[in-house]
């Protein structure tokens, strides 16, 4: 069942086009990650859905109802912001209960609900603390509890982790996912951090210049990117020179692969699809090596550009900067750049 549908959204700010006919639909209970470089329109899309921005054209539908003209205060959506947004004059419990207070829920009921939600985000002890007495991570947990307190039709997360340090970020990210799955809340999560989007979203939409470039499950996005932009934005990718040997075959790193087209081409290859082996007769040398546990990343100079390859660490043991190596191409489909 479709919970949210954004249809042909357009929005301009002066000369800047933030949304250029954006379409997106979200299934009930699904967590969609919206990923893209800054200025791609992802935050604008979220703010239009929340009702903080009006689209110039297009429609916003929630549960099949057109809410394009409904003010933010009557959309019943919970939002967590990038910057710390707790009301500084209220305690954690007061913040969580705010949405219920303006809905005229009786005091005992909203106090119970606030306690319940603070418990859910692991801050049952901090009900009486003021925002300035909480760490950044704790403040964002309270903000999440506050957004969930009103049982939102859609939960909107606008880069909620970007102001936090790495360890807290990963922990809270996993917790957001756990809570979201437990409550089954339809969620839109905006981020510029691809690993964040890939690790918790059911599907990820990659935005470019105000449009969805590709909307797919994380592994599909990574392994079968629809365009060069998606391939280069999601994960690390190498641009390699491919020499055309027949109308539908090219040669890359000594291997022949099918790729239709005319003339030589540039192709995109993931670092893990490139094999590296010592070869004294080769003209290629390792220029850098970084150890990442199970994998070791080797940077090899090829025709004046740097190619990175992730190889299992045991296979990279003898390869240091200066080593002469040969590169091979794994059995992967090629994507023209």
């Amino acid at each position: 069942m479709t919970a949210v549908e954004l249809r042909g959204l357009h929005r301009r700010f002066g000369d800047v086009t933030a949304l250029d006919g954006l379409d997106l639909s979200i299934e009930a209970g699904e967590l969609i990650g919206l990923l893209g470089p800054s200025g791609c329109g992802k935050t604008t899309a979220l703010r239009v859905l929340a009702g903080f921005e009006q689209p110039d054209r297009g429609q916003v539908l929630v549960g099949g109802t057109d809410i394009t003209g409904t003010p933010a205060s009557r959309r019943g959506m919970g939002m967590v912001f990038q910057s710390f947004s707790l009301f500084p004059n209220m305690t954690a419990a007061g913040n969580v209960a705010f949405g219920l207070r303006v809905r005229k829920v009786p005091a005992p009921a909203r106090r119970r609900r606030a306690e319940e939600l603070l418990e859910l985000v692991g801050l049952g002890e901090k009900a009486k603390a003021y925002p300035h007495q909480l760490s950044g991570g704790q403040q964002q947990r309270v903000a999440l509890a506050r957004a969930l307190a009103i049982e939102p039709a859609v939960l909107l997360l606008d880069e909620p982790l970007s102001a936090l340090d790495a360890q807290v970020r990963n922990q809270l990210r996993d917790e957001i996912r756990r809570i979201q799955q437990r409550l089954g809340t339809t969620t839109l999560f905006v981020t510029h951090d691809q690993s964040e989007a890939l690790s918790i979203a059911d599907r990820v939409g990659v935005l470019r210049a105000g449009q969805v470039e590709q909307l797919a499950a994380p592994d599909e996005l990574y392994h079968r990117p629809a365009t060069a932009f998606v391939a280069e934005f999601v994960g690390t990718t190498n641009r390699l020179q491919a020499r055309r040997v027949s109308p539908d075959t090219v040669e890359v790193l000594g291997s022949r692969r099918p790729l239709a087209g005319t003339g030589d081409a540039e192709v995109l290859v993931r670092p893990e699809a490139i094999g590296v082996a010592a070869d004294e007769t080769s003209g290629l040398t390792v220029v850098a090596r970084t150890f990442h546990g199970a994998l070791t990343r080797l940077t090899v100079a090829v025709d004046g550009r740097e190619v990175v390859a992730d190889v299992p660490s045991p296979l990279a043991s003898g390869l240091v900067p200066g080593s002469r190596v040969a590169l091979t191409l794994g059995d992967v489909p090629l994507l023209a750049a």
């Binding site: 933010a72 205060s73 939002m79 947004s85 009301f87 303006v102």
Partner: protein
């Protein structure tokens, strides 16, 4: 060493006149401070000044708060315009302002007599409660109130807080009352205090327009009773300090709660 010396000198600079004034008022044994309340004209002048101060605070906040919220939340492009406007009263000398005001007020019982505009001009010159002073004081207080409140708004991310409140279902009045105003409290207190201090100490305008506010009354009696006038000056200084202390204590209590 040099720092202590400097502090000492500055301290003396402020303290000597105060102590000298105080010694002067108690010299001779008569309880001058007790006479203040009953002195002829004091009660009226004091009540008038306080009323003007309260009305001015209400007026200046009533103008600056909506204007500032509008530029912070909706019309950021207008911020430089408003900022410049708010500074104009500082650039115009009060004496120039008051001469203009006096000329305008003169039209009331004169050229415009009998017309609605003339009636308004006359009615705002009531010597018991001169509304014209409220209007002039609002203009004079505008730069201070604007600056103080603007600093308070810049310090906090009001836009995000408003979005958060709206998103949670709060109406505009609820957002204003429960989120924005509590957030602005230190700035509001500061602006209110500055305005209060300005109105209680303002002499030029009220004197030229011939209204008897506290400072005007002070000057009037200083000729007849020097001791009493110095005592009132000291008392009003202490009164202002107490107000300032009350404001900052209120503010600190809020932060630690």
């Amino acid at each position: 060493m040099i720092r202590r010396l400097a502090l000492l000198l500055v301290g003396l600079y402020f303290l000597v006149p105060l102590v000298a004034s105080f010694v002067f008022t108690v010299d001779g044994g008569a309880n001058v401070y007790g006479q203040i309340i009953t002195a002829e004209g004091f009660a009226d002048a004091f009540r008038r000044s306080m009323t003007l101060a309260v009305l001015t605070v209400a007026g200046v906040l009533g103008i600056t708060i909506p204007a500032l919220l509008a530029v912070h939340l909706k019309l950021p492009k207008w911020r430089p315009v408003l900022e410049t406007l708010s500074l104009i009263p500082l650039a115009v000398p009060p004496i120039a302002l008051v001469v203009g005001v006096r000329t305008l007020l003169g039209y009331g019982p004169d050229e415009l007599a009998g017309t609605p505009v003339g009636d308004v001009l006359v009615s705002i010159q009531d010597p018991e409660l001169p509304w014209v002073l409220v209007i002039v004081y609002i203009v004079l207080a505008l730069p201070f109130a604007y600056r103080t409140l603007d600093a308070g708004l810049r310090g906090s991310d009001v836009k995000t807080l408003v979005d958060a409140a709206r998103g949670l279902g709060a109406s505009w009045p609820a957002t204003l009352g429960r989120v924005i105003l509590p957030q602005l409290r230190p700035g509001l207190l500061g602006a209110a205090f500055l305005t209060l201090a300005l109105v209680l100490g303002e002499f030029t305008v009220s004197s030229i327009l011939l209204f008897e506010t506290l400072p005007v009354w002070l000057l009037k009696i200083s000729g007849s009773d020097a001791q009493l006038s110095v005592a009132v000056s000291l008392a009003s200084l202490v009164f202002t300090w107490l107000l300032l202390l009350a404001v900052s204590a209120f503010d600190r209590k809020e932060k630690t709660s």
